[in-house]
Symmetry: C2
Amino acid sequence: MTGADFVLGVDSGGSGLRAVLGAPAGPLGTTPLRTTLALSTPVRSKEPVRTGPRGIDARHLSKQLTPMVGQLLDEAGGGRIVAVAVGAAGMATLGDELRAELPSALAESYGVRRVALAADAVTAYAGALGQRPGVVVAAGTGLIAMGTDLTAWRRVDGWGHLLGDCGSGAWIGRAGLEAAMRAFDGREGGSAALRARAQEMFGEPLSGLPVQLYPRPDRPAVLAAFAPEVGRCAADGDPVAVRVLREAAGHIADAAVAARPADGACEVALTGGLLKLGDVLLDPLEAQLTERLPHARRVPAAGDPLDGAVRIALDLAADTLKLPHDPHLLYVTG
Amino acid sequence: MTGADFVLGVDSGGSGLRAVLGAPAGPLGTTPLRTTLALSTPVRSKEPVRTGPRGIDARHLSKQLTPMVGQLLDEAGGGRIVAVAVGAAGMATLGDELRAELPSALAESYGVRRVALAADAVTAYAGALGQRPGVVVAAGTGLIAMGTDLTAWRRVDGWGHLLGDCGSGAWIGRAGLEAAMRAFDGREGGSAALRARAQEMFGEPLSGLPVQLYPRPDRPAVLAAFAPEVGRCAADGDPVAVRVLREAAGHIADAAVAARPADGACEVALTGGLLKLGDVLLDPLEAQLTERLPHARRVPAAGDPLDGAVRIALDLAADTLKLPHDPHLLYVTG
């Protein structure tokens, strides 16, 4: 089995690992991203890569990746991997072991020398805007904005549910649950509608909510799971829910404004699960972005972080990678 | 050794266990609380009582309490315990095992039948206002307000750092750290002063703060440890810190308003470590309380939760307990 040359894109996050093979279908950048890149069907492992004392566990990632790559190459009828890009949540702060060990592990397994290890916010950027200057806000359970003028990155927020992630799913859900508890207490700022939704989700009385939330390791996800309820209450006109989403829109715009390239025109894209909240969030957000980023063109995200990983790997293979290298955000070997 | 009759007051919280003996020095309620109650010097165990699958671990509490009571009785020259009141953090939601097992354990150890098991917010109330109707806000790392008209309790907030505790030390510290991260990012709402304080406390660059905070089990305490810095920045005139404390004052007043007895005059007291922030918090808080609780008389707290436990035990011994019984907040046997 010899076959074609492929690149491998990998996305590692809280819900597991995804991997896909890519190969250029034509001259790079001439056709829309999704149709250019998606060669294989992605394969998944639902086990999130562990974090150990030295950060993201490189061996745990490699061990999960090996059978996934085997399956991808089998399905493609064999072939050779010429470049790999891995986007991982926590890469910026917890990527030391990955940067130290993963490139050599990939070289040993597949003979590949060109490897990019990227923060998931960078693969989100590449998936959304490719190699054009601009700002991408990735908003799901958490929230981070990445901007670049193709010289350097600007990383904004992404500090987690206690220090930031302002406007994220966890932020919106937390604010909604606080309003539910305020209604339960008869305090100012409460919402009977949000209280009713919280009771449906967590049971009555709501005084039982703390013991359901605090012992869990995935508290941000529990909070974010309530964000769609806030969206529904806002769509029904609940003023507290409407205010929460308006404030979230303001925070998301804060992040986009701080991450934008210093001068000139650029593009702004939003990506991530939070967009599913729909117009109740997007209408105030568009209004904020129009007002506060008048020189930025709003564009839809072309693809997701896995598309971005493939895109980076293809550019790496073709020696056309223009996104700025950075020891923590976009670490490149080979 | 026969000696006198004593009551035992116990306070169980996040920083360990405290116990003290009390005995009336005169007719109850005729002299200031502290001089009436404090017979012995309190003894401490710095090991917080464990929480197991059935809630607060009754045996762990008993085991720690036994030598403490032995020491107290020795120092008092011997005597008999005629009533016990235990105030415990988490009693309302995690007190099932304590209520099921502690009264019989105390009966076995000391022959005592009169036992009160109280939420720490109830002992805070009794310590601050004794048996008079009113509202007590206990504000430290967390925040809870208890109010009573001596018929029933009104419990407000105390839902923890993700669902409430609005205006608490963790709330103020979290808001301050968010403002520090906003300054680090160049986002709206940032404070250079708070950023500088956070860098002093957690090191530079502040992008290292998340990995210092999130893995810790005592995240609320870490957040609350930053509240004094917010206080100092506010005292220096930092507008963001001033706004955080003004909002905190509003939230504390929200809790007091919701917990107040339904009708008539009453007293309002504040207790807990948050008061140490001083005028930067207390000035806006007094303004809010004056405006929003015009019929409530602001009084200083007479004592702390341990004083409150002794007070409840004395009233229990004398058959004069007027504070409302409640299966979760003030559970009484004998």
